[in-house]
């Protein structure tokens, strides 16, 4: 593991999550931001850099900063989908390393469930999106279904193996009182659930909830003065391979194949150094292709890798320990929750679901139609 210390996550918090019909998207973000700053022992007036991504307005950073009473000297609204917040961590570290600021606030919020924003079909499609939407593919689920279908064809992956991912997530969620979906779930239940887009059933798909989260990233100097022990950012990397699915070179291989090795090399770690993994699980197939691309198993072996309880509580590869997007919550862009859970595990504050003596966490976000990838490696002293 690398020895130098540049930046750390010092504050983490979530807003109310699940169903929040009386909250606006700004209220959720303000709630998460204040909680995260308070968690760190900092204040809105300490925030120098603001990072935000969301689909609720074109002007995310302008509106949110104004609402919170922040005038940032560095602002970044990079939006590459659900992996945006992993990218934001990387950008924050780079800015801190360059000496541009010392305190960064990363925020997300969504009221997609209460506002019924999912499943909307646009009346007009312009530019490069006009070659897909007219055919009627439901996105994103249809895109992930086509990746799963190809993965099954090339590697013999079975629906039962996809279901294992959902079952493990549910078993973690059953140990998390805040999780949205906590009823027992079996492989048979997943396979018997309603088919959405072949081969993906209802329980192969993430939840649709409201919710928000925030993270405070600071320089080493500030981190040493904060309330919690620093969770160091040891490595980070990002990429995107395409936007529309027809331009994805190989639907079974994601940009994680680039970001995983880069982030792990920066952190100076190997695969078996990872104590806990938080892997974006928009759909069950997302986990399988990501674990392969990150190199935790060979290409095509992801189905076998996730089987037999390996990624479930008590398994040898603790993953998505809050229940994930499949069972914890999924307010549209889930990446911020991956980081929060990883930091919580490294602090040792994860309660019933705590991974014993977790020292290194790997977080991987995936956005849009397997389009964007960002990896963050976190560690504690």
């Amino acid at each position: 593991m690398r020895r130098d210390r540049i930046a750390a996550i010092v504050g983490i918090a979530e807003s109310d999550i699940g169903v929040t019909p009386d909250k606006t998207v700004l209220q959720l973000q303000a709630q998460a931001a204040v909680r995260a700053l308070t968690d760190a022992g900092l204040h809105t007036r300490d925030v120098q850099a603001l990072f935000c991504a969301g689909a609720w307005t074109t002007w995310t950073n302008l509106m949110l900063a104004e609402y919170l009473g922040i005038q940032p000297i560095y602002t970044d609204s990079t939006n590459i989908g659900g992996s945006s917040f992993e990218a934001h961590v990387g950008h924050a570290v780079a800015g801190i390393q360059a000496g541009l600021f010392e305190v960064a606030l990363i925020v997300y919020g969504s009221t997609q469930r209460s506002q019924r924003l999912r499943g909307k079909v646009p009346g007009e499609v312009s530019l490069t999106e006009q070659y897909e939407a007219p055919f009627g593919l439901p996105v994103p689920v249809g895109a992930y279904a086509m990746a799963a279908m190809r993965h099954m064809y090339e590697y013999g992956t079975r629906p039962e193996q996809l279901a294992e991912v959902a079952v493990a997530a549910r078993q973690w969620a059953m140990q998390n009182p805040r999780a949205f979906a906590r009823d027992p779930l079996s492989v048979e239940d997943v396979l018997a659930s309603r088919m959405i887009c072949e081969p993906l059933h209802l329980y192969d798909c993430c939840l649709v909830t409201d919710g928000g989260g925030a993270i405070v990233v600071t320089s080493e100097r500030v981190a040493r003065q904060c309330r919690h022990k620093p969770i160091w950012v040891l490595g980070h990397a990002e990429t995107h391979t395409h936007h529309t699915l027809l331009s994805m070179p190989d639907v079974t291989s994601t940009g994680a194949a680039v970001t995983g090795p880069r982030a792990m090399a920066m952190a100076g770690i190997r695969h078996d150094d990872v104590d806990v993994a938080e892997i974006y699980d928009s759909f069950t197939i997302t986990v399988i292709v990501t674990l392969e691309a990150l190199g935790f198993c060979q290409q095509g072996e992801g189905g076998a890798f996730v089987s037999g309880g390996r990624i479930a509580p008590g398994g040898s590869f603790p993953m998505n320990t809050n229940g994930g997007g499949l069972s914890y919550c999924h307010p549209g862009m889930y990446g911020i929750f991956l980081l929060i859970e990883a930091a919580l595990q490294l602090r040792g504050d994860a309660g019933m679901r705590q991974v014993p003596n977790a020292q290194i966490a790997l977080v991987h976000g995936t956005g849009v139609q397997l389009s964007s990838s960002a990896t963050v490696v976190l560690g504690r002293d």
Binding site: G119, K120, V121, P122, G123, E124, V125, S126, L127, T128, Q130, Y131, E132, A133, P134, F135, G136, L137, P138, G142, A145, M146, A147, M149, R150, Y153, R194, M195, I196, C197, E198, P199, L200, T244, L245, L246, S247, V251
Partner: protein
């Protein structure tokens, strides 16, 4: 309650020759005159070599199913059409398109050979769908 409209392409100077081709029963893709590679979707520079010397050519209209899904839960204006099949098809020229598979009485599979068939949507938009012509050996 009025039926929600289906997505309609906004024609621009990249896309117009493609969509006008569909209306005429011609599947148009581009070829780069600098590197000789085919390009889809249409654009003003070649993503392989940065050349701006791209010309529209008529594709043979033959391809192979790269992957597909059968949609059982459609959204909005497509929800009453389920089940229907969406596929990514690799044209023989080497480019990939999204499409809908039709006339697949015995189902469709990856590797099946398909040919283009132009189909008018209920709102008048002509789309390049594909239908099976030869099952893959499985």
């Amino acid at each position: 309650m009025t039926m929600q409209a289906k997505p309609v392409p906004v024609l621009d100077t990249d896309s117009r020759p493609f969509w006008e081709g569909c209306r005429q029963g011609v599947l148009r893709i581009q070829r780069c005159k600098t590197c000789a590679r085919y390009v889809f979707y249409p654009r003003s520079i070649c993503p392989h070599c940065m050349s701006d010397d791209l010309v529209f050519v008529e594709a043979k209209g033959l391809g192979t199913v790269y992957t597909y899904t059968v949609v059982h839960r459609g959204f909005g204006p497509f929800q009453d059409e389920v089940p229907f099949t969406i596929a990514l098809v690799d044209l023989d020229e080497g480019v990939r398109m999204m499409t809908r598979i039709v006339d697949a009485g015995e189902g469709i599979g990856i590797g099946d050979r398909v040919e283009v068939v132009f189909s008018e949507r209920d709102d008048g938009l002509v789309l390049p769908y594909f239908r099976p012509i030869l099952k893959a050996k499985r």
